[in-house]
């Protein structure tokens, strides 16, 4: 395992190598060399299975972290490739030529985060949503609760509570929910 990481470090500018558990490692790589790294991992290192592609929204840092989860069936090792992209210029190289299901993930990311993958087939077709007219819903600045109440209304009589506050009121009613 370490040999692989050394090899990768020799050829690529990988950093933030993080061994999460036996059988799973994550590393970070720049946006431009990510596709070459992934191709290399697939063709040379035996990471032939793409588990998924997903995205984490770090709104406070202004970045999207794309996660490509690759699996090697021979060494039973999972490698997570993290790629940071700018939240404002959300664009990433498409890997739809490497795996057949990759374009589906990219289509989903396009819809849910608005990330562009130039060249990816059927990218702008509706995936889950239909007639969506807001900012992409999985972005953290999109408040789904507010949107839901505005768009779908609210039935009188229904209210939802924060469990912590509710339980405080239940358990310590006399003290007005004050625990101490």
């Amino acid at each position: 395992m370490n040999e692989l990481l050394e090899r990768l470090q020799r050829h690529f500018d990988v950093n933030n190598i993080n061994v999460l558990k036996p059988g799973m490692t994550t590393l970070k790589i720049g946006k431009d060399s990510a596709e070459i790294l992934i191709r290399e991992l697939r063709d040379r290192e035996g990471y032939t299975h793409l588990n998924f592609i997903t995205c984490i929204d770090y709104i406070e840092d202004g970045i999207f972290t794309l996660v490509y989860m690759l699996h090697n069936y021979d060494s039973k090792h999972t490698l997570g490739v993290h790629v940071d992209i700018d939240r404002e210029h959300e664009e990433m190289t498409s890997i739809h030529t490497l795996w057949a299901q990759a374009w589906t993930y990219q289509r989903e990311l396009r819809e849910m985060y608005g990330i562009n993958f130039p060249g990816s087939p059927r990218l702008d077709e509706d995936f889950c949503l239909e007639g969506w007219d807001q900012i992409p819903p999985m972005r953290r600045e999109f408040d789904t609760r507010v949107f839901s109440e505005e768009r779908f209304g609210h039935r009188e009589g229904r209210h939802s509570e924060v469990p912590r506050v509710h339980m405080k009121m239940e358990l310590y009613p006399k003290r007005g929910g004050d625990e101490e």
Binding site: C128, L129, E130, G131, W132, D133, Q134, P137, F142, T144, R145, F147, S148, E149, R151, F152, G153, H154, R155, G157, R158, S160
Partner: protein, 210 residues
């Protein structure tokens, strides 16, 4: 057959292209009157209640308990309930829980193609007030704003026993002539349409799917 009525009584079908407007009817739906003789109406209601054909459209997770309901253990066939694969022939629409916006469009389409008298059963808490998806951006919170519901069956999932009880309750309601959801839909047609168009942003179907 294309029905074209007088201008004051037609629908706009604004969502359709000119070419498609020629293909779809723009007539308004009309409420149906009960038979003038009460005995005939009661007899008709009895027949309707004892022959409930459910549209085979699993709109949500509630569909999973419809299979045990229809198969050997609970066998709803005993009560005159049968599955029907096409909306034209079915009289009961079971909404299986939450309705996402994309499905809602298909629900409306299927519902309008059903021939009256038609009845809607909604399963679970989600169609009532959103349930645990009350804050989801893609599921509607109050289903009865879009389609009139005749009967709610509670539970997540409603067990097959509850479904059987619900179907019997629906039968009683039909026999008593109190299932007028389809007529409500027609009478408040503009209100329902406005609600539907508020959530369905790409309205590219006729205003009423004949």
């Amino acid at each position: 057959m294309i029905k074209t009525l007088g201008t004051e009584d037609t629908l706009e079908n604004a969502g359709l292209t000119d070419e498609e407007q020629q293909l779809f009817s723009n007539a308004r739906p009309r409420a149906y009157e009960p038979y003038p003789i009460k005995a005939v109406e009661d007899f008709a209601n009895w027949a309707r209640a004892n022959s409930l054909w459910i549209l085979a459209f699993g709109t949500g997770c509630g569909a999973i308990e419809l299979r045990p309901l229809m198969t050997a253990r609970f066998d709803a066939n005993r009560f005159g309930v049968a599955g029907r694969p096409t909306p034209r022939q079915s009289s009961v629409f079971i909404i299986g829980g939450y309705a996402s916006v994309k499905t809602l469009k298909r629900i409306i389409r299927s519902y309008e193609q059903m021939q009256g008298p038609k009845f809607v059963i909604a399963l679970g808490i989600c169609p009532i007030n959103g349930g645990m998806y009350f804050d989801s951006y893609n599921t509607v919170n109050r289903f009865d704003q879009y389609i009139p519901v005749d009967l709610y069956i509670t539970g997540c999932m409603p067990r097959p026993e509850v479904l059987v009880a619900g179907i019997m309750e629906l039968q009683n309601k039909i026999k008593a002539g109190r299932c007028d959801g389809a007529n409500r839909y027609v009478e408040n047609f503009d209100w329902y349409k406005a609600n539907q168009k508020k959530v369905i942003k790409n309205w590219d179907m006729p205003d009423y799917n004949w």
